[in-house]
Amino acid sequence: MTDDHQLRVSKIRNGTVIDHVAAGQALNVLAILGIDGTSGEAVSVGMNVPSDRLGRKDIVKVEGRELSQSEVDVLSLIAPAASINIVRDYDVVEKNRVVRPDAVASIISCPNRNCISNADEPIRSRFTVLSDGVRCDYCETIVREDEVAANLDVN
């Protein structure tokens, strides 16, 4: 019998492994990255797997696609401890941490229903990133880090 780990999330040959994602956030990670399986890439997701660092963590593996730093930086808002491993021919060739961007657009919708960014206007939602959350560039509403996942605008 293969070991448990193999059963949960198999190794990938080429692609990106997003490790140390806060438990429960894997599907939000995929949503933010715009990965929904329609473009054919193989995606493995492990949720609530034991982790020395986090107790429990999620892990996401995307076969055949190398994610750029700017693509993954938005993940810092929901998975600040995440590490990004680029895999080529089963070897990790690059390992990076997510870096907080200065601003994010079209990722979060403003929780203030009366904000102009929620009206039918030709603009995208835009937030400035603070040390412990984000702030709407239009109505200045502050969304705390622990509220970001509930306000993702990517589905």
């Binding site: 009366n114 904000c115 102009i116 960014s117 030709p122 603009i123 109505c139 200045e140 509403t141």
Partner: protein, 304 residues
């Protein structure tokens, strides 16, 4: 001013504020010198929400500078009713005017509008967001009556939804002012304003009772608590009643306490205060003219 628009008091530096207040004082001293200053210029008034005094005072201020105004009129009779976006409306109206004044029920409307126009734009109120031109006239009134430094001010009423409160609190961080916020728990300052006050290192305290702080105040700024902020009439009456003042309330206040209110008031300041030396709210409303003249003069004189 560093920027072409006046959107939020948080964008104003002490120098920006003093430039407007000094100009307003010049206008107060010699209004005739400004009478033809902006002859031939047109100010566009776009009010998507009812307004009497802000609209009238901008209209009057522009005309006293020798300019003219064009008014969008009520929303019911405009293209907005046909479903036009705000972005389109302001892009059309900027072609008719040299500057725009915008009031809109959505927070962030003025910020968005400013991204679509090249003429100076003044935020005359965006939902429960900001009302910075009101703040300039409030600051002018405070400067004339109590001074802006070494100031102890109490701001009372609906601090959560009160846009004049948000703008005033943020602008006062430029001065040596100690700010006391008095409100029911449910109407405390919103998170973003508290964040800015904290980040600026302002001296801030929050209270639920006016008595706790009234004797120390130089200025008491009262705002209206609105019925629609409460789930039922009884709760509204119970809460609103605690934040009304009359001459008896003011017995423990300093003799030279300045009482202000952005108006309109309903019953939060009893008429028996009107005839006392404390009452400054009508003077405050009148200051809207020189201050808005000064603001328009500065915005319309900038090299573009």
């Amino acid at each position: 001013m560093r920027q072409d628009h006046l959107i939020s008091a948080s964008h104003l530096s002490r120098e920006d504020i003093e430039a407007v207040l000094d100009r307003a004082a010049d206008i107060d001293d010699d209004p005739a010198a400004f009478r033809q200053r902006h002859a031939g210029k047109v100010l566009g008034l776009c009010f998507f929400e009812p307004s009497t005094r802000t609209r009238m005072s901008f209209d009057s201020a522009m005309k006293r500078l020798g300019g003219q105004t064009v008014d969008m009129g009520p929303v019911e009779s405009s293209s907005v009713k046909k479903g036009e976006t705000l972005a389109d409306t302001v892009r059309v109206v900027e072609g008719y005017a040299d500057a725009l004044v915008l009031r809109h029920p959505s927070e962030g409307a003025a910020t968005m509008a400013s991204e679509f126009v090249d003429v100076p734009l003044v935020n005359a109120g965006d939902g429960a967001g900001q009302h910075p031109s009101q703040t300039l006239l409030d600051l002018y009134t405070i400067r004339e009556n109590a001074g802006l430094d070494d100031l102890t001010i109490g701001i009372m009423g609906d601090l959560k939804y009160g846009r004049t409160v948000h703008s005033l609190a943020e602008a006062l961080t430029n001065f040596d002012a100690s700010q006391h916020f008095v409100s029911p728990e449910s109407l405390r300052l919103p998170r973003n304003v508290r964040y800015d006050l904290h980040a600026s290192g302002a001296q801030v305290r929050e209270h639920t009772e006016l008595d706790e702080v009234l004797p120390e105040l130089d200025v008491l700024y009262v705002t209206r608590i609105q019925r629609e902020r409460f789930p039922d009439e009884n709760e509204y009456r119970k809460v609103a009643g605690q934040y009304q003042i009359d001459s008896e309330t003011l017995e423990s206040a300093a003799d030279d306490l300045t009482v202000m209110h952005p108006l309109p008031r309903v019953d939060e300041i009893s008429p028996d205060i009107d005839d006392t030396d404390h009452a400054t709210y009508f003077e405050q409303a009148h200051n809207g003219i020189p201050v808005r003249m000064a603001l328009l003069d500065i915005l319309l004189s900038q090299d573009r």
